[in-house]
């Protein structure tokens, strides 16, 4: 084998620091990290209370982040799950409607899995684009949450359990934050180490190639949607526990915030590109901004303008699109200057 001729195509990096640099350049989270750094510095100077009152901040991050993490699994495969916020509401109402807390939690989580399965059915079997299929589910489930709840908040039967749940367990860490961290770790391991999770990237990056390589694409899609549904239901359960009541309108702001968190964190909507860490970074940035603005007394409407601006900034500064943006701007300007109309 040693005698076989070899072909050298391009430089092979052997030295350590070059390899490290190359490895770092491959990461997709830089944009999110840079934004997070800016956000942290800005908040420290304008509203340091955000960090003094970190349990509040962490709670907000966990609310946006949990749903975003589940959603990331679906986006990595190049699909979208718009039904997450409605799933959250339905799961909350279902759980509160059942007197026994433990049974309620189990049934609510199963509902989440079932919703994921239905989404997957429409996408995989019926062949509807996931944007449309889950948009339909968004409306269906939102209506269902209102019908099940009789259009008003449902109180938990066992309010004691809810109050106990909201209390910090380890230092200032509430169960919500703990669950968020656990889901993060679980999903991170899933998409980096577990075979099925790694194959999500193949399904999103080049679906035909994934099929040709013998990857069970349909099964991966089902797994992804069920993951997303489960995590959204989990978020609904946590919400209900903390508030000791389920509100059918819960989570209405969560959907767009969670998609924004994933995008800021470098997850590509076209699939195949991004990471769970990136979504975490995105959720941290968004959570800190929201809490910071709230503490500074900025109204919720104005906060949305900020968040929209941050999202656009994040996408524009993506290294891939940055060059194009600069180039387009330049040719636009020079085009105006240097040309006589034909």
């Amino acid at each position: 084998m040693n005698s076989t001729p070899t072909l050298s195509l391009g430089p092979a990096t052997t030295d350590r620091s070059a390899r490290l640099r190359a490895a770092l350049a491959r990461r997709t989270e830089w944009r999110g990290l840079a934004l997070l750094a800016v956000v942290v510095v800005a908040t420290l100077s304008f509203e340091p209370l955000v960090f003094t009152a970190y349990p509040v901040t962490l709670g907000r991050v966990a609310l946006i982040g949990l749903v975003a993490l589940g959603l990331t699994a679906v986006i990595l495969m190049g699909e979208l799950d718009l039904s997450v916020a409605s799933t959250l509401a339905v799961a909350g109402v279902v759980m509160a409607s059942i007197p026994n807390v433990a049974l309620g939690i189990v049934v609510a989580l199963c509902a989440g899995l079932l919703i994921g399965l239905v989404n997957a059915f429409f996408v995989v079997k019926v062949g509807i684009n996931s944007f449309i299929a889950t948009l339909g589910m968004l409306f269906v489930l939102r209506g269902l949450a209102f019908v099940l709840s009789g259009e008003k908040p449902v109180r938990m039967a066992d309010i004691e359990a809810g109050i106990a749940f909201g209390a910090p367990i380890i230092g200032p860490i509430t169960p919500r934050v703990l669950i968020f961290v656990l889901v993060f770790i679980g999903l991170q391991i899933f998409v980096t180490k577990v075979r099925a999770g790694r194959e999500f990237y193949a399904v999103g990056g080049n679906r035909q190639a994934a099929r040709d390589a013998g990857i069970p694409v349909s099964r991966r899609l089902v797994t992804g949607f069920m993951l997303s549904g489960f995590v959204a239901a989990l978020a609904g359960v946590i919400n209900t526990m903390e508030r000791t009541a389920a509100d059918p309108t819960a989570g209405s702001t969560v959907l767009l915030a969670s998609i924004a968190a994933a995008i800021i964190g470098g997850v590509a909507l076209t699939g195949g590109r991004g990471s769970i860490v990136g979504t975490l970074v995105g959720a941290l940035s968004l959570g800190i901004i929201e809490v910071g603005l709230t503490l500074s007394g900025v109204q919720v409407d104005v906060q949305q303008i900020f968040i929209g601006g941050v999202l656009l900034l994040a996408v524009i500064t993506d290294p891939a699109s940055f060059r194009a943006v600069v180039g387009n701007a330049r040719s636009f300007l020079s085009g105006r200057r240097g040309e006589t109309p034909a």
Partner: protein, 511 residues
């Protein structure tokens, strides 16, 4: 290149055989009663024009498509159960269109669909180990942890082959593997395949390049219009006979006709062009002149032409188009088009055509202004206009209502050319105009390009196909590392001189 380089004919037992395969798509029969058998240690060539059914037949062998009639057998056992079963039976297909996942690493792509696992967790060490072995086996060094999206096209092709080899296949099918490779890389690949065959592998090799078939194959099967024309030992046939069988008519390989040309004024002029991968290029193209850009893949030819016409960002330099005595500078792609530049891109499927629109609509696209009255397109005018252009480029069948995506590669390229012809371009830039196009369509596209030049259009052609470059060009600029390494014209331009400039002297590739 001589017969004794090839392995003996029919060296081993039959590994894979397909019997009386029929495959229909809608009303069209893509494969019509074709049988083929390939032996262990044999390199079996498969040739035919585009649309002859080669790729369909191979997709059936690889389990991607199910035949309507007939049977595929591996070691005498019928093969059923799709891709998975075919992979398990040891059939590996290297696709024509690269099927890699850009965001996964080299190692992960090589092992795609076959990640070694322990309790569901991927075993990273074993994964890299097997991938490294596969790369060693084909003798190519690639960074295992690099994302495939960052590799060159040629490297990706070899990663794809490594993936097939990593499966320890018994049958290796390659569909046009050399379309994106330079002569040196092609040479390497062919030697490698011969070595793999000596190890007992059965190889099916699809190529449009006849010399490659004659260099490595033991037997060759010809398909035409979905039908089996015949299988012959390579020593019992000749390139001319093979081409005759493929096209079903007399066809001459006229590789060395050069046009008599009398170039006019400079129409397209570039001065000091710099861009990504382009480091300062001066270039003139005169009216009625065909200028060829040669060089290795990745030398910066595509980047150069795209920067020249404003399709990509130019960091420095000035490009002008002169027509009717007026010189205008090109600052954007829009201004290029407005001043009479037509561009036929390398990736015609993604960049050149709207595949789901009809031929007529595609042809009308850059000609909207002249076809519209008060901003409204007139259907009858569009049809007449498109039909005239479709006829002039020899579209077959000349049905302009069909979707562009329904046509074969060669015909699609004709549609792209046709839509620009409607604008009577002053300059036409063609990037790899005949890649993946069959012999017959190739000759027609060459004829079109010559006609354009004869009518006074300035033509700039990028091509990795050396005979094509030599045949078409009046002047050849060889690009190396983003600069013009040398300029050749007339008798001094031949395969050797182009290659030695492209490779930086010293090395001369075989073609």
């Amino acid at each position: 290149m001589t017969a004794d380089q090839t392995t003996p004919e029919a060296p081993g037992p039959v590994v894979i055989e397909a019997e009386s395969i029929v495959k229909r798509f809608g009303g069209a029969t893509a494969v019509d009663d074709v049988s083929i058998a390939v032996r262990s240690g044999e390199i079996h060539g498969l040739v035919g024009e585009n649309g002859a059914g080669k790729s369909t037949l191979m997709r059936i062998l690889a389990g991607i498509l199910t035949p309507d009639q007939g049977e595929v057998r591996v070691d005498g056992r019928p093969l059923t159960g799709g891709t998975r079963a075919a992979l398990d039976a040891g059939i590996a297909l290297v696709h024509q269109e690269l099927s890699l996942v850009p965001e996964l690493t080299t190692a992960e792509n090589i092992m795609l669909g076959a990640f070694p696992t322990r309790l569901g967790f991927t075993n990273a060490r074993q994964l890299r180990g097997v991938a490294a072995t596969a790369l060693r086996e084909i003798g190519v060094s690639v960074d295992l942890d690099e994302r495939v999206g960052r590799l060159s096209v040629a490297l990706r092709q070899f990663v794809e082959i490594a993936r097939a080899v990593a499966r320890k296949p018994r049958v290796l099918i390659l569909d046009e593997p050399t379309a994106t490779l330079t002569p040196a890389e092609t040479d390497y690949l062919l030697t490698m395949l011969q070595r793999l065959a000596e190890g007992g592998l059965a190889i099916i090799y699809i190529s449009h390049r006849i010399p490659e078939i004659f260099r490595i194959c033991d037997r060759v099967t010809v398909l035409r219009d979905g039908q089996l024309i015949g299988t012959t030992p390579i020593r019992a046939t000749t390139p001319a006979a093979l081409v005759d069988q493929m096209v079903g008519r007399e066809y001459k390989l006229d590789l060395q006709i050069r046009r008599e040309s009398t170039p006019g004024e400079v129409v397209l002029a570039a001065r000091g062009v710099r861009a990504h991968r382009v480091h300062g290029v001066d270039l003139d193209v005169r009216a009625g002149e065909i200028v060829g850009l040669g060089g290795l893949v990745g030398a910066g030819r595509t980047e150069l032409v795209r920067a020249m016409i404003g399709a990509d960002i130019r960091t420095a330099g000035r490009v002008t188009v002169t027509a009717h005595g007026r010189t205008r500078s090109i600052s954007s792609y829009q201004s290029a088009v407005r001043n009479g530049v037509a561009y036929v891109p390398e990736e015609r499927r993604t960049d050149g055509l709207a595949l789901t629109m009809s031929v007529a609509e595609n042809i009308a696209l850059p000609n909207r202004r002249r076809l519209a009255t008060g901003g409204v397109l007139r259907r009858s005018r569009v049809s007449a206009f498109a039909q005239r252009l479709a006829d002039s480029v020899g579209l077959r069948p000349p049905d302009i209502r069909k979707d562009a995506g329904d046509y074969s590669g060669g015909n699609q390229q004709k549609i792209v050319i046709a839509k620009w012809l409607g604008r009577n371009p002053k300059v036409i830039v063609l990037d790899e105009p005949t890649r993946g196009v069959d012999v017959g369509a190739k000759a027609e596209i060459h004829r079109l390009i010559r006609e354009l030049a004869d009518q006074g259009t300035a033509v700039l052609v990028v091509s990795s196909d050396l005979p094509e470059l030599l045949e078409l060009s009046d002047v050849i600029h060889v690009i190396r590392d983003g600069r013009i390494a040398g300029t050749l014209s007339g008798p001094e331009a031949d395969e050797r001189s182009v290659m030695s400039l492209a490779a930086g002297g010293g090395m001369v590739g075989k073609a």
